[in-house]
């Protein structure tokens, strides 16, 4: 500590270190403003750990300064830590923004892309403003970040804005610490910034007003490809059934619901019932797609979300979207609502297009025209998707607006760790210290472009956050391409993590809970070390280890993956388990539609144990129940039957029985008898009970069984905290029923809020497990 030689005892000088997301978010001008408010002297600068402030003045003012620093920090800033050290007085008069230290931004954080702020929105709608109707308006409080960053340090030369030279007025704003655009790297204006373009099938159209042209085309029922923040979208009028059908057919997307964008919250409220959590999500900095209960009179074409009681809605999150929707509203007039379908710009399950050439090529056959622009996208980033469950957000996809903000752990990791994540819905994660950088949505690794973005994404994150992993964590499934990538990496230490242990560990990491807890993983499928497919698991888990204390009784997957795509196989196999080979004589609609010759082959496969793995997956139990109830035979998108089954469920129904069976061997896992539940379902089907009631009883039956399982573990182990995760918990009805029952019974329930319960959250759990295991061995 420096010796103090102070004449005025009221005067102090402090050095303040601020860590977190504090660069590129207007933090220095904010500090500058605070210093002016209390007339303090000193400086602020960016350095490799964040922001360092030296400040001197009256002691009471310094205290107030620090309080305000934390309380009033800019919207995009996230302060992780503030530490203060006293210094000797220097006696300056002024406060300045000092130059960044060399090698600065290395260890600091890149902010996620952020929805247009109120100030920018005001500017683009004000005819007197120089940014009136300018689609690329942004400031330090909003705009593109992650998707345009090429490298660190985060300044304009390292973003895709580097080719746009600031005009005089923009430069003046950029250099003025009192301006909202002080050091706003992507700042631009109509004079110097990116421009919109309207392209039709024949090439560039000399169209003076691309926004107007796009709005007119949409209103007329055309399909328009729109280049957004993290990639291209395909848009059409949401109330035009013919247009929506054409879009589905051209995009080869048969049934999966399409996302909507409404002009504003008021229009959204005409589509859906918006609860306070949903509203916070819709209007927050990330602006995800939010799944909400639809109104029966929602002015939306039937093909937007067939069979769904919910709609996925987002609000405009860039000036381009704000302007497009406003223009569309003006074109369609008061008789139609300003709602468009805004779905990913791709063909069926491919990654979304984000490079212009690729988009022209791939989306050309789908779109009638393009609303595009000349600001390159560096990182593909899909829209995030959230729903609301148990009074909080439930992320289905954590991507745009969230990544790459870190998830903070309770304790330091023992070393830097890379986790490679799952096979589909892949995200990876890099952990260092207390921070885990969970990546944006990468997607299905079996697609070559997606596999490439997995490798490129890992390299990009390593560079951005200056992390050199010493350990790589991976799923135990040897066929996951993420696992094969992990095993091929030149990182010596490799740690395999069981799929459902990772799901539960992700929740422990989020809550900073070391465990042990009761972990309930309700999932589709994950690799079980015993050669079966897991997915309905009751674990006693810490971050470092787990014990499988119970699981769903086995169902059969005749044809492996084919049985996941064709739930009728699981259902038929379950009926054969219950009623023997003559089950098809049961007078059920399901058995009457059964393909007898196909079933004969499957029956033989099961008998010969040929590509017919056993599974404890709850996802498959829901699939089977849905198929039996008449929701269909095959899934046209992942989880379709189970999803539609939830949608029709009448929640006011008593549960089906799903008894807990004692372990076959002492000390082994107990099982939950899903077949008993299906038998009760079959009885109801034969008695003519309505599908809605059956669906409700299935959901309650499963929730009741999982509650019984948790009670059992509490009795035996004295554990009262339950962590819930796994893709099946995207089923809000199941999650809320179970969470409510557990809470009513005295359990504390941990629900994943920061990362998805599905495989999009797997990498976070893998980091947590690997970290704990390395830590234990040290």
């Amino acid at each position: 500590m420096t010796e103090q030689t102070i004449t005025n005892p009221q005067q102090r000088r402090w050095r303040i270190y601020v860590r977190g997301i504090v660069q590129g978010v207007g933090f220095r001008p904010f500090v500058f403003g605070l210093a002016e408010r209390w007339q303090l002297a000193g400086f602020v600068r960016n350095d490799s750990y964040g922001v360092t402030i030296e400040i001197e003045g009256e002691e009471r003012a310094l205290h107030e300064f620090v309080t305000a620093l934390q309380r009033e920090s800019p919207p995009l800033a996230r302060i992780e830590q503030v530490s203060i050290e006293p210094l000797a007085l220097v006696g300056e008069r002024a406060f300045v923004i000092a130059a960044s230290q060399a090698q600065a931004q290395r260890r600091t954080l890149i902010a996620p892309d952020t929805a247009t702020c109120a100030d920018c929105l005001r500017e683009i709608t004000d005819p007197a403003d120089r940014r009136y109707r300018y689609a690329f308006t942004n400031c330090t409080n909003c705009g593109p970040r992650f998707t345009i960053v090429l490298d660190v340090p985060y300044d304009r030369a390292n973003t895709t804005m580097r080719s746009f030279v600031l005009c005089e007025r923009c430069r003046a704003e950029y250099e003025d610490p009192r301006d909202r655009r002080f050091h706003a790297q992507p700042t631009a204006c109509p004079v110097c910034g990116p421009q919109l373009q309207w392209l039709t099938a024949d090439g560039v159209l000399a169209e003076p007003d691309p926004l107007r042209a796009a709005a007119v085309a949409l209103a007329q029922g055309q399909i328009v490809a729109v280049k957004g923040l993290g990639g291209y979208h395909l848009a059409c009028a949401a109330d035009d059934e013919a247009a929506v059908r054409r879009l589905r057919q051209r995009k080869q997307r048969e049934a999966r619901p399409l996302a909507l964008m409404t002009r504003d919250l008021t229009v959204a409220a005409r589509l859906c019932v918006i609860d306070p959590v949903a509203q916070t999500l819709l209007t927050g900095p990330a602006h995800p797609i939010v799944l909400m209960p639809r109104r029966s009179d929602a002015p939306v074409a039937p093909s937007v979300a067939p069979g769904m009681r919910t709609l996925g809605v987002m609000l405009p999150y860039t000036p381009l979207h704000h302007l497009l929707l406003a223009e569309y509203a003006a074109v369609v007039g008061p008789t139609r609502e300003a709602v468009i379908v805004l779905t990913s710009g791709n063909l069926s399950d491919e990654p979304i297009a984000y490079h212009d050439d690729d988009a022209q090529q791939r989306l050309g056959p789908i779109a009638d025209a393009f609303l595009t622009h000349n600001r390159p996208i560096h990182m593909r980033c899909d829209d995030s998707v959230a729903s609301v469950a148990v009074g909080g957000p439930l992320l289905i996809r954590r991507s745009r607006g969230y990544a790459p903000a870190p998830i903070t752990l309770a304790a330091e990791l023992p070393c830097p760790i890379l986790a490679c994540g799952g096979h589909l819905k892949n995200t990876f994660a890099l952990g260092r210290g207390r921070e885990v950088f969970l990546s944006h949505h990468i997607g299905d690794l079996e697609n070559l472009p997606t596999l490439r973005s997995f490798h490129e994404g890992i390299a990009h994150f390593q560079r951005l956050f200056d992390i050199t992993p010493e350990v790589v964590a991976y799923d135990l499934h040897p066929g996951y391409l993420a696992t094969q990538a992990a095993l091929a990496m030149p990182i010596e230490r490799k740690i395999g993590v069981q799929h459902h242990h990772a799901h539960i560990a992700a929740v422990l990491a989020e809550y900073g809970h070391p465990g042990p807890v009761i972990g309930v993983a309700a999932d589709g499928s994950g690799y079980g070390p015993d050669g079966t497919v897991w997915g309905g698991e009751v674990l006693v888990a810490t971050c470092a280890s787990y014990e499988r204390v119970g699981h769903l009784g086995h169902l059969i997957l005749p044809g492996g993956e084919q049985a996941v795509r064709q739930p009728w196989r699981v259902a038929a196999a379950a009926l054969a388990q219950l009623y023997g080979p003559d089950f098809w004589r049961l007078a059920l609609p399901f058995t009457q539609q059964l393909d007898q010759s196909a079933w004969q082959v499957l029956a033989r496969m099961i008998e010969r144990n040929l590509n017919s793995p056993r599974t404890s997956s709850l996802g498959r139990l829901f699939d089977a129940a849905a198929a039996l109830t008449g929701m269909g035979q095959i899934a046209r998108y992942e989880g379709e039957l189970a999803i539609r089954f939830e949608q029709i469920a009448d929640p006011q129904q008593p549960p089906y029985p799903m008894p807990l069976r004692e372990p076959a061997t002492a000390g082994g896992p107990f099982t939950l008898d899903g077949l008993a539940l299906l038998a009760a379902l079959v009885d109801d089907l034969r008695a003519g009970v309505a599908p809605a009631a059956i669906a409700g009883r299935v959901h309650h039956g499963v929730a009741r069984a999982l509650l019984a399982a948790c009670r059992r573990v509490r009795e035996e182990r004295g554990l009262t905290i339950v962590a819930l995760s796994g893709g099946v918990f995207q089923n809000v009805l199941l999650l809320e029923t179970l969470a409510g029952a557990l809470q009513a019974d005295g359990f504390t329930v941990l629900i994943p809020r920061l990362a998805p319960p599905n495989d999009g959250g797997l990498a976070l759990g893998q980091v947590a497990v690997a970290g704990a295991q390395v830590g234990e061995r040290q």
């Binding site: 079996e446 697609n447 070559l448 490439r452 040897p478 066929g479 993956e561 082959v601 010969r608």
Partner: protein, 328 residues
């Protein structure tokens, strides 16, 4: 378990267990080895046959043992000359069956123009074998001026398959598991050196030949991609898959690209020579249905992808043991 499926596990056994123990490799890991003997280049290959059932539609284990080893020799561009055969017989194996197997071996060798020059027989206790296991070793001569091997595949090469795929694997599975798929499927077992001669005579610049046996076309292409460090792109709709094989695979939940063949070859040829080679192949009975299925590329080295019907690029992986679902 799983180490015999011709997939990644066998490759791992070779690289991590056998090669270190044998002090190798002494050359590229191809179907057969080449050694110089007094100026001549001798191709040698050895293979064991453990198929169940011993008799199947289209052939039996004896023919398979002859054709399989001839094919491994032929895949080096060599003309097979002679074979040795070694039998492990299970006590209780009916002599009549063994006789049939031996006869068909003799016939297959004769038809192929190779001689059986030596053999060995061991008997193991009942229950310690599936009737008969046969190991054959083959010898052939590589004509001067021919350098063919997996390491010679080059970006830009055209990739041709000699005919419809998946027949052998589905035929075996059908009889072994007692499953009928509608139309009966017959094994394609055949000796390919005649076809190879025709191909060489066409003057096409052939870089690589491979018989896609265990692990199917997917395993063969992945091995070549890894050995030559090239990318491979095949076009899904151009791959000749018999409807019966396709239908069986859909029911079984298997990929036709993973199903074994015993009378097909894949050839990597200089792109400009592809049409000439195809024409030559189609003059031979075993190449009548030859088809161009894709190209080698400098993109994505080591990775095999299939362009799907809708224009997607699906990564075609080698099977890892018994495949459990990867989708959720």
């Amino acid at each position: 378990m799983g180490h015999g499926a011709g997939g990644k596990l066998s490759t791992e056994l070779i690289t991590h267990l056998f090669l270190p123990a044998f002090g190798g490799p002494h050359g590229p890991l191809a179907d057969a080895a080449l050694i110089d003997v007094g100026g001549a280049r001798l191709a040698i290959s050895t293979d064991s046959f453990v198929v169940r059932p011993l008799f199947f539609p289209g052939g039996n284990i004896g023919e398979l043992a002859i054709n399989g080893t001839i094919n491994d020799i032929a895949m080096m561009g060599a003309q097979p000359i002679a074979l040795t055969a070694s039998f492990i017989l299970e006590e209780g194996m009916p002599l009549a069956q063994l006789g049939l197997i031996a006869e068909s071996m003799g016939r297959a060798a004769h038809n192929a123009g190779v001689i059986l020059i030596a053999g060995d027989t061991k008997v193991v206790d009942r229950g310690h074998g599936d009737g008969v296991y046969i190991t054959t070793t083959g010898f052939g001569l590589v004509p001067a001026g021919i350098t063919i091997g997996p390491e010679h595949a080059r970006p830009g090469d055209a990739i041709i398959v000699s005919g419809p795929i998946g027949l052998h694997g589905i035929a075996i599975l059908s009889v072994r598991e007692g499953i009928e798929f509608g139309a009966p499927v017959t094994s394609d077992t055949a000796a390919l050196h005649g076809l190879v001669s025709t191909m060489l005579a066409s003057g096409s610049r052939i870089h690589t030949l491979r018989d896609p046996t265990r692990g199917g076309v997917a395993a063969a292409l992945n091995e070549i991609a890894a050995t030559a460090q090239i990318g491979i792109e095949i076009i899904e709709r151009d791959i000749p898959i018999p409807p019966a094989v396709q239908a069986a695979c859909e029911l079984l939940g298997m990929d036709p690209l993973h199903i074994a063949n015993e009378g097909k070859l894949i050839v990597f040829v200089e792109r400009d020579d592809a049409e000439r080679l195809l024409a030559a192949m189609r003059t031979h009975p075993l190449g009548r249905d030859a088809a161009l299925i894709g190209y080698a590329t400098i993109d994505h080295p080591g990775v095999v992808v299939a362009r799907t019907g809708i224009g997607g690029m699906r990564v075609v992986d080698t099977l890892v043991g018994e495949q459990l679902p990867r989708i959720c």
